[in-house]
Amino acid sequence: MNTLVTWLQPWEPSLPVFAACALAIGLYAVGLMRGATPGVWPALSYFVGVALIYAVTQTHYDYYSQYLFSAHRLQHLVLHHLGPFLIALAMPAGVLATALPARVRAWPQGRAAPLFGLLRRVYRLLQQPFIAGFLFVGIIYFWLTPEIHFDAMLSIDRYWFMNWTMLLDGLLFWWLIFERNDQGVTPRLSPGRRILLLALIMPPQIALGAYITFSSQNLFEIYDVCGRAFPIDPLLDQQIGGLITWIPASMMSVLAAVIVLAFRLRGRESDA
């Protein structure tokens, strides 16, 4: 019992993360109560996605992410790949919109219209396939640059900044891949272009993961500087971290491509 309580307690409580997760769950639940019917699987996918993000940031797991390279890589796999993947797959925009009062839903047409217009343009720019793919891979490389990684793990403020950028970029990318709403702001790519984009982001992730896995040098000194969660060979820790960056991260592309194809086939069947 005691261990369970310890595990559920956040190592570094973060109000913004807690509030964002509570809001995500709360809004969706209100949307369901107001009559939105996303279906069981999308709802489950959405809740699991949010729960995973919460689990890797606001439980004792976060302690291991801060003091083991491999655990940190798994945390980012959830924040950048798995969590946003599940959320975007659920396409929750409709349910979330149902939860909002009509007054709030009218904001983009109201006095703040120019601001929303600008946001929409910035968003569409970020969602250009080339830019979105570049950001998705670039942000992994950026935070894994040894000097930048060092400072991010040393300063608590930068640590949270890093995790937020990973999560937000993950949401942007997977939203673009799984978008199936005709009226949305997100550019609607053809299935072929989605699969091409998914294929293009794989080699750089594989290269980076393989480089880390096969490096005989200890690349990320910060974990020696801060101490590891338990005594483990630094190179073993690094190799596991490299494998997580390499294999499951690129597997997500394959899985997403299969899902995009399945949507396409289902679309054909319903057309026929």
């Binding site: 801060q66 120019p114 040393l154 000194e221 020696d224 500087v225 801060c226 590891r228 969660a229």
Partner: protein
């Protein structure tokens, strides 16, 4: 507000944010790793090797180098202590004899004050040993983004301890200034110690 005006403001904001982010990355012009603004001021409550209570206030007025280790440590700790002893010697009289090295043991189960005193005397007069109950050590290491952990004991009761390998350098006012990593040279450490002692 016209749209182009919002756009200009947004662009100015973005440039400012980027400049702040890049500017904050430097951490000062140190030969080792500058950590100004990255870590909080020195604060602790420990039991010193003489068995008395020791707080950060007791060490104000001179730079302090803090290291987290344990006396049974086979390699990292003796190396670090030998390196800091060499660096303080190389920094010479600029240090004025005031600089303190605090060896914080994260293995209070085995490191008694007496054992700590014998250990630190071996390296330099500047080195003082201190420790605390595990819970308080956790708070202190967490404050400096460090941690420690224990292996299972072997048949002789010996166990390994994972701990931070860095030395944290604080100035006379207790502000975090530099971090000495295992990869930093003794000459670079001496230069930064001189610099921190002078300012």
């Amino acid at each position: 507000m016209p749209e182009h005006c919002i756009k200009r403001r947004l662009r100015a904001g973005l440039v400012l944010a980027l400049a702040l982010l890049l500017g904050a990355c430097g951490g000062g012009d140190y030969q080792t790793k500058g950590i100004e603004g990255l870590l909080p001021d020195l604060a602790f409550r420990l039991t010193s090797e003489s068995g008395e209570s020791l707080t950060a206030a007791d060490l104000r007025g001179a730079p302090t180098v803090v290291f987290f280790g344990f006396t049974h440590c086979p390699d990292v700790c003796p190396t670090a202590m030998a390196r800091i002893a060499a660096a303080t010697e190389a920094a010479g009289k600029d240090l004025d004899g005031e600089l303190q090295v605090l060896f914080v043991s994260v293995d209070p189960g085995r490191d008694t004050p007496q054992r700590l005193a014998d250990y630190t005397d071996f390296f330099s007069d500047r080195v003082t040993g201190a420790t605390a109950p595990v819970e308080r050590l956790r708070e202190l290491t967490k404050r400096y983004r460090a941690t420690f952990g224990y292996d299972e004991p072997n048949e002789f009761g010996d166990y390994n301890v994972s701990h931070s390998s860095a030395m944290y350098v604080f100035d006379a006012e207790g502000h975090a200034r530099a971090l000495f990593r295992p990869s930093d040279s003794v000459a670079a450490m001496a230069a930064d110690l001189r610099r921190i002692a002078r300012s």
